[in-house]
């Protein structure tokens, strides 16, 4: 415990210093920037309304409901971006979904040069490829891939969500940049200090509702920043209409108010475009420390191992997604994704020590014009702890 305390102090000191360096740099850049000469406002948004049909859903063990239909699940987002000049812009975005209304973005963007950019406020920290297009109007399926799912997958409550529900929004500071080597090779980096994921002192996993609840005024629950970053390389062969991107991301911190329960997340992503054909693949893994308590034998479902109770659980997920335009207004989408949780579970959990799901999705996306699209998909869930499920989703999305 002493070693942990010493480590905590050291980590906290390092974090404070890093924040100071970032803040001073941001102020310096702002002071050097030319005066604001005007504003350019851009309003954007989207709305998606979807319907989920599940054939014979087993919502609790032993109870099977025939033909379950969840209708009119709506996701709405509106965003205002103001470009003061080429160096300063602000973004404010409001979202409405199953979680109610929340602030998805509220940040100031300072750009010294393309290689040095600061974001301060509430934003989506750079992690992985999907968060770049997390808005329902930007991705082709109604729901997100399992590693990023935020409440749309079947058995979501049993798994307590995914590896990193998207959009992951947090408060903090981010330094990022992009640089082109010639006209074909691009590198991007981002490092940030944010509040981090949240939970309670006696939790065994994150409590995602705390991350997006305005009730706590979005304040960091443990006053201890989490740190993360992303690095990506892009090869763009414009003549061949081919693009490849390879990225890696990481993040680490504490999620409980006492800053005793640690976590880290790592991810790798790949993107390829060959003319109009697109292929995406990502892998995410998160190790989360669980609260054992004084009597873990009564708290957890499984007994101790050779070294006692394991205080860590691993949650990992992947997806591979292919998009192929077949007709002028129609794209075919195929996706294979999975999610697995490895580790002890609470005695009340319906999961086993190694619980997983594989999902097979085939869908389509039709453009009706004026930014309105219809999405349709069929999904097959292959659970190892539960009955397999077949689901169908139909949605309409419009760009505002």
């Amino acid at each position: 415990m002493k070693r942990r305390a010493a480590s905590s102090v050291s980590s906290r000191s390092l974090g404070v210093r890093a924040l100071l360096v970032i803040a001073i740099s941001a102020v310096g850049v702002a002071a050097l920037l030319p005066s604001v000469r005007g504003q350019d406002r851009n309003f954007a948004g989207s709305i998606q309304s979807s319907y989920l049909y599940v054939h014979d859903q087993e919502d609790i063990p032993g109870r099977v409901r025939d033909r379950v239909f969840d209708g009119f699940t709506t996701e709405l987002s509106v965003k205002l971006a103001v470009d003061f000049n080429e160096h300063i812009s602000t973004n404010v975005k409001l979202c409405y979904g199953c979680h109610g209304v929340e602030i998805d973005m509220a940040y100031i963007d300072l750009v010294a040069v393309d290689e040095l950019r600061f974001r301060a406020g509430r934003f989506n920290p750079a992690f992985g490829e999907l968060p770049l297009r997390h808005d329902p109007a930007n991705h082709r399926t109604i729901d997100k891939p399992l590693p990023y799912d935020m409440g749309r997958m079947l058995r979501w409550r049993d798994f307590n969500g995914s590896v990193m529900p998207s959009p992951y929004v947090d408060n903090g500071l981010e330094v990022s940049g992009t640089h082109w080597f010639g006209y074909s090779f691009q590198i991007d980096y981002a490092v940030y200090a944010v509040g981090g994921f949240r939970g309670d002192n006696q939790d065994d996993d994150f409590d995602f509702t705390q991350s997006r609840s305005g009730n706590s005024y979005y304040v960091d629950n443990n006053s201890r920043p989490s740190f993360g970053g992303r690095y990506a390389m892009t090869l763009d062969l414009a003549e061949a209409e081919t693009t490849f991107t390879l990225g890696a991301s990481g993040m680490a911190g504490y999620y409980d108010p006492d800053a005793e329960l640690s976590y880290w997340i790592a991810g790798a992503d790949f993107y390829a475009r060959l003319k109009t054909f697109e292929l995406r693949a990502e892998y995410l893994v998160r190790r989360t420390e669980m609260f054992l308590g004084d009597a873990p034998a009564s708290r957890f479902k499984y007994g101790p191992g050779k070294n006692g109770f394991d205080r860590y659980m691993l949650k990992e997920g992947f997806y591979v997604e292919a998009i192929m335009p077949l007709l002028p207004r129609f794209e075919l989408v195929g996706r294979f994704d999975g999610l697995r949780r490895v580790g002890n579970v609470l005695s009340s959990s319906s999961l086993s020590k190694r619980s997983s799901v594989l999902r097979y999705t085939l869908g389509g996306d039709v453009s009706l014009g004026h930014g309105v699209r219809v999405k349709l998909s069929g999904e097959y869930y292959d659970f190892n702890d539960f009955k397999n499920e077949i689901a169908a989703m139909l949605g309409v999305v419009a760009v505002l």
Partner: protein
């Protein structure tokens, strides 16, 4: 499902600007390549309708906006593709705001393609320059070739 297929293979219409589809016959021939650059790059992260339906009336808006998109990680919008994207968006915005009628020939700026970091395109295809100021009254006008004397 039948309706789904029917919709997806429907007749093209100038108003159809969706995920990938736009009636490119309305685009001047010299801008088709620019449109292709716009479609390839911008559709990586969002639907084209995001840009095509944006309530933008000032073409210069796109200069800052595309610069911001270039800084998005993995955007793959290279410095030499930027002017192509801008040239299409400028033309498209002007055509929507009736500054350029859809059938009117569009003369692109050669400089724009030669210089990736060229000045905003709006200067090349923007509105007519402001009229010259009114000449001074004849009794104050200098004679030809003589400098104007400023009264104290």
């Amino acid at each position: 499902m039948a309706a789904f297929v029917l919709l997806s293979s429907g007749c093209p219409s100038p108003a159809s600007q969706g995920t990938l589809y736009m009636d490119t016959s309305k685009i001047p021939a010299e801008l088709r390549e620019d449109y292709a650059s716009f479609a390839t790059n911008c559709s990586k992260c969002h639907s084209l309708s995001r840009a095509l339906n944006a309530p933008v009336r000032d073409p210069s808006h796109w200069d800052l906006y595309v610069a911001r998109m270039m800084r998005t990680a993995g955007s793959a919008i290279s410095p030499n593709e930027k002017p192509h994207i801008l040239r299409f968006l400028h033309w498209y915005t002007l055509s929507r705001t009736d500054s350029v009628s859809s059938g009117e020939a569009y003369t692109p700026s050669a400089d724009l393609l030669n210089e990736p970091e060229a000045a905003p395109v709006v200067e090349a295809i923007g509105p007519e320059p402001a009229p010259a100021p009114e000449p001074p009254p004849s009794d104050l006008a200098p004679s030809e070739g003589q400098p104007l004397e400023v009264q104290p």
